[in-house]
Every structure is written in C-alpha cells, then in structure tokens.
Amino acid sequence: MNFEFSEEQLMLREQARGFLGQHCSPSVARSVLDGARNFDPDLWQKVAEMGWTATAIPEEYGGLGLGYYELAIIAEELGRAVAPIPFSSSVFLASEAIMAFGNTAQKNKWLPGLASGDSIGTFALAERPGSATADNLLSRYDQQSVTGAKAPTADAMIANFAVVVCKASPGHVHLAIVDLSDSSVARETLKTLDPSRGHGKVMFENSPAELLGEHEVSWSALENLLDRAAVLMAWEQLGIADKALEQACDYAKQRFAFGRAIGSFQAIKHKLAAMYVKNTLARSNAYHGVWALASDSDSLPLAAATARVASTQASLYAAQENIQTHGGMGFTWEFDCQFYYRRAKLLSLAIGSERHWQDRLVSALQRQRAAA
C-alpha cells in the first residue's frame, strides 16, 4: 500500500510551484484579463521550455515519456496559478486524442509540435447550449473535409489546429484534425466570464480535414478520452480550490473586526473548515482518479467522474466563499479573488457540468454493481 506521490514527483511539484510563483503571479492573469490578448504567449513559451507540454508524450514522439502522476501535479499547479495558457486544450485534450486515436504517422506528424509547444491544439465538441451527444451533433465529416460550427471552443483564437468531433453513424463519431489557419475556416472571439482563457466560435466550410485513426470512433471511446481529461481537469480545479482556501485563511488571520481576527469568529472559521473538508475529499478522490488513469484501471470511469464532481464542488465553493471571507474587498476588480471565481466556473463547465458527471458517476456505479 502506497497511496502517495513519489519523492521525485513531490520534487516536481515544488519545482513547478516555484517556477509559477516566479513567472505566473496573479498579475499575469490580470494582464490578460485587462488586456486584449487571449492568453500569455511568454508564459506559454516558458512552460513549453520547462517541458510541461511534453510530460506524458512518449519519447519517440518528442515527449518526456513521464506519466500522468507528473501531469496531474503540473495541472494542480497551473490551477493554483490560474495560468492564462491553453494547457488543458492542447495537452489534456488534443495531445491525448492523438495519442489515443491517431495512427503512427499522425503521431509522428502532430505530437512533436505539441510536445515542444510550437503547436497549440484544441478540442472542438460543443455546438449549442446543452450537452453534445452522438445524436445531436451537426458538424459533418465528408470526403476529407469538415463543415459545421463549433462554439464555444476553448482557445479557438490561438490554436493552430483543432480536433473536431463530427457526426458519423448512430452511436459513433469522427474525430478530424483541421488546420485552423486554412482559408476555409472562420473564427470569431466569444466573450466569456473568464477572459484570461479565451474562447471562440469556429466555422468550417468544407475545410480540409484529416481523420484521426481513419475510421469512426464509438461514443464510449470518446467518453474514455473525456474521462482521462476529467481526471487532469480535476487536479487543475483542486489547485484553484486549495489556493482559494489559503487566500481566505491568510486574510481571515490578519483582518480584524470587533477587536479580533475575523478568523476567530465561527461563522468564518467553520466556513473555512468546510472548504478544507471539501478540498480534502476532492484531493483523495483525485488521488484515486490519477491512480486509475496512470494504471489503466477498469475503475477509471467511476474514479474520473468522482474526482471531477468532487473537484468541481470544492473549487466552486472555495472560490465563492473566498470572496465572501474577504468581504467588501472580495468583489472588487482590484483584488485577486475574482480570478479563482471566474476560472472555477469556467472549468466546471468545460467537458461537462456537475450534473453531467454525476449522471456518468452513477452509470459507472451501475455497471460495477451489475458486474459484481
């Protein structure tokens, strides 16, 4: 029994935290939020130089060939730092999609650029309000081209290519890679609640496309890809949750009212304890999630859904009550509390809401029960 990261992995965490403390202070997120840019290209460059984008990509494709434990650690630190970069789109989704569904030639073609950070990929699934399903997709793949509109697509304005989910036969989909710089592709910025992670609408009109793996993909294979991303996203959300708790604790200790630190009032201290409890349960579930991911366990669907739901709840609560703990200053633009509040909600909606993952969690429990 060893349910803890290794010494090397814990060292990586420390290193990552130190690096981001230096290069991704809250002012970095703030400058993207206040400015016109969709992300911070300098930070992206530095993160790529650290090799983080290469973490889980095999060495033969230009990656570091490390595992998901390392990627989870980086995800958590990027969450803590509310990093304004397209990491989850390019690494958790685009890279993973190519590794899962691409043939050797495709891996050779796309993975080295993703590993080096020279190429930014994104994943284009959503088309309308509500969940995408195998039945309601409208985007079509036909004769090596894609037609349709994908919105909102995370990092659409800065990505070099997109893995586009298109409709195929019932219960199946195609995954097609489209070069977003092609003249047949139109892009339009969409305003969101977290401008430090830009979104856009991408319109394809017979846009040249390369089918990932050359055939249809079952909906459950797509769900497996999303399960994997959900574990990594859960770690990113956990980073937000823990950082928000720390910020709230620090403030509660130094802010005085009625002659005492506000953290000595049970209304505040019990709120912070409730955050801690949620965060701790989320962390333990995230441990199980990354273990299931790293060890290719059958329990991945249940572990991923559980980790995702727990981290969604913990991060939303912590971000929200961190503002509340800060009182009047909490809801100003000037204070940093807003970053966690925005990012927590953004991440909770990416790849499916809490309700969506709760439903999948119970489906996994039902399968487990039927198998027992």
């Binding site: 309308r128 509500g130 039945d135 009047g328 200053m329 100003t332």
Partner: protein
C-alpha cells in the same frame, strides 16, 4: 386573509394608477437625456403633483400617506419603467435621518429638494478598516473655531461622484469606547479637499466609490445630533437601510431557469423533464415564493401599524445566495455555452451577470454572516458574541496591525 384591496385602498390605487397613466414618461421625455436626467425629470413631475415621497409630511413635500398607501403606490409605479435608483439612498435612508437629527432650517431647506429630486445625497459611513465592524471607523473630525476639519477615507459610497450632499460619520474622540466617540455631519460634496475614485467590481461596473477627505471644512450647524452621538444617528440610517434594500432586483430566477430548461435538452429530452433539474427548480421556487409571501405578511403588518423588525433581514440573506445558486444552475444547464457572456444573448447573459453580481450582494449592506447574527440575536434573542472591544478606548482596540 384576502389579497384584495379594501374599498379605501382600491380608491387610492385607482387615483394613483390614473395619475400614472396620464403622466407617464414618454419617449420624448427620454430622448437625449441621461438616465439621471430622466430620473430627475420624473421625480420633479411627481413632486409637483404631490406624488413624491408620499409617506412624508406635507411640509417636507410629501402627502402624509399611510404605509399601505406607499406600498400601493410602489406597486402601481413599478408597472412603468421609471428610473428610481438614484433616490433610494437619499429619500429612503438619509431623509429619515435628517428628519430626526437635522436643525430645523436644514430640514426645511434640504427635505423638499430631496423629495423633488433636485439634489442627490450619498452616505459616507464605511471605511476600509471597518467592514462589517462599521463603528470601527477612523475618519477624524477636529474642532477648529466654529468649524470642523475632516480627514480620512470612506469607501463603498454609491453615487458619490454626482451627489450634491452627503452625511458622514467621523471619530471625534478616539480615547473613548468605539461607539461613543463618533459624530455625524452633513457635508457638501463640492467642497475642496474631497476626492472621489470609482471602485471597479467583479462585474466590470463601478457602482461604488472611495472618497478621500483632506482638511475638509464643515460648519458646526451641519452637525447631526450632539458630539459623540454619531452612532445613534447612524442607527437611524441603518434601520432604514434594512428596509430600503430588498431581495436583490432583477436577475436569474425560477422564471429564467424554466425558460432555459425548456430550451436545452438532456439526453434528447427538454431539460425541464429531467428530475434532477426539477428538484433544483422546486428548491428555488420554495425560496422565491417564501420571500414573496413573506413580503405580503410584512406589508400586512405595516398596514396594521406594526413597525417592520429585524425579521425582514431574511430578504437579502435568502435572496442573494439564491441568486448566486440559480445563476450557477442556469449556467450549468447551458453546459459549455454557460461560459458565454454576451450582451446580445439575454438568456445567458442574465445568468452570467447575476453570477458575477451575486458575490457583491451577499456582502454589501451587511454580509450573510452579519445578517445571520442579527436574526439570531435580535429575533431569537440569543446572546451576543463576546465583545473584545467592549468598553475599551477605541485607540486601544486590537487591530492586528
């Protein structure tokens, strides 16, 4: 129980409705005017016809109407799209304070101009170091001949940048206990030494200001109450604040949630048929309906001559977190599209705006925690928290710095 008007109430309602219909704002009235100008135009029109601040005495520009008549008037007026937010603080909170504490000449001078909308007022109580502990304010007032010299900083002041006057609470004696060393004044907001900086919020809007006072000179006759009586005077304002702030205004609600749940699908069926969605909507409806009928009970109590008590604090206490929860729920229904914040798309932007605005509502005018304390102590009669600052000279109270 009866939701209908008495015959007397019906007569009043019909008179009010008639006047409103006759005199409502036209497109021409709005044309080329800023919201503030439109508001002033409308207020003036009401004032001249005797429909402004109808609960006030006639000498101050009102018509001495009963509480239930005020409710009826508000109900009728709210059927029209009229701007009223500019006057809530001045008429709803500051005027009652002036009525109790100002010298006769100031009442005669200021109150009619408050009623007519000619002058806008702001309230200068909160300070950065105070927060929920309002009385811990530090802005100094020092006597200089017949005048007072004010130095310090206020925060969360709505309307400061276009207000004509304000009421300000200052510390005139830091060597006595916190609540005892305060004094309140009227202040002319155009005086030299006053600097106003807007505060940008989470929403991107700037509804509040910081106000800096540097050697601002105030005549002694602008004092409201005795020296050292500032906290008692402030309580007059604050009690009226609890009445003036309601459930939080328009925002994400059950209606919006029903609308979104009817448009989006879950597993190929309208989301409104999904029982998890239904359970949440039912939860929110229980809160909204409870607050609505609570309001009717409060109005009934008012109309029977009872004074509204601290139990009315639940409007904001329930309403603001509910707004946050409904907004989040609506965004979840939209799934990935829930992140979109487009001014054109009413459906999603109302939820978004509410989600970003709710944190402020849970704090402004008394945090959830303070409102809960008020209910526990003043309604349920539970004992106060131990007060470490009680009876201690203000300048000896621990501040953590």
């Amino acid at each position: 129980m009866d939701f209908n008007d008495t015959s007397q109430e019906a007569a009043f309602r019909s008179e009010a409705a008639g006047w409103l219909k006759e005199n409502q704002l036209t497109d021409a009235d709005r044309e080329g005017r800023s919201p503030l100008e439109v508001a002033k135009l409308w207020q003036k029109r009401k004032y001249e016809a005797g429909w402004a601040c109808i609960g006030w005495d006639k000498e101050y520009g009102g018509r001495g109407a009963s509480p239930i008549e005020r409710v009826i008037w508000d109900q009728e007026e709210s059927k029209y799209s009229v701007p009223s937010r500019f006057f809530v603080i001045g008429q709803g909170m500051i005027a009652p304070t002036l009525m109790v504490w100002a010298q006769p000449q100031h009442k005669e001078n200021f109150l009619p101009k408050l009623a007519s909308g000619e002058e806008i007022w702001c309230q200068l109580f909160s300070e950065p170091a105070g927060g929920s502990d309002l009385a811990a304010l530090r802005t100094k007032a020092e006597k200089d001949g017949d005048d007072w010299i004010i130095n310090g900083q206020k925060i969360w002041t709505s309307q400061a940048h276009y207000a004509d006057y304000g009421i300000v609470v200052t510390r005139t004696d830091p060597t006595v206990a916190k609540h005892k060393g305060l004094t309140m004044f009227i202040v002319d907001m155009k005086m030299p030494g006053i600097e106003i900086k807007p505060i940008k919020q989470l929403t991107g809007d700037s509804d509040f200001n910081e106000v800096y006072f540097t050697d601002v000179r105030i005549p002694d006759h602008y004092r409201l109450g005795d020296v050292g009586q500032g906290w008692t005077a402030a309580l007059t304002t604050l009690m009226n604040e609890r009445l003036a702030i309601g459930g939080g205004g328009p925002g994400a609600d059950v209606k919006l949630a029903m609308e979104i749940a009817s448009l989006v699908e879950i597993n190929g069926r309208p989301a409104i048929e999904d029982s998890a969605v239904r359970a949440k909507i039912a939860e929110f409806h229980v809160l909204e309906a409870g607050l609505e009928y609570n309001g009717y009970r409060a109005i009934t109590a008012l109309s029977r001559g009872e004074l509204p008590g601290p139990e009315n604090s639940i409007g904001k206490l329930v309403g603001a977190p509910k707004l946050q929860a409904v907004a989040s729920f609506c965004m979840d229904l939209l799934e990935e599209s829930g992140v979109l914040w487009s001014e054109d798309d009413l459906l999603s932007s109302l939820a978004q705006r509410s989600y970003m605005g709710a944190p402020g509502l849970r704090i402004a005018g008394g945090t959830d925690e303070i409102m809960t304390n008020i209910i526990a102590e003043r309604v349920l009669g539970l004992p106060q928290d131990p007060r470490l600052d009680k009876g201690i000279p203000f300048n000896e109270v621990p501040t953590g710095n």
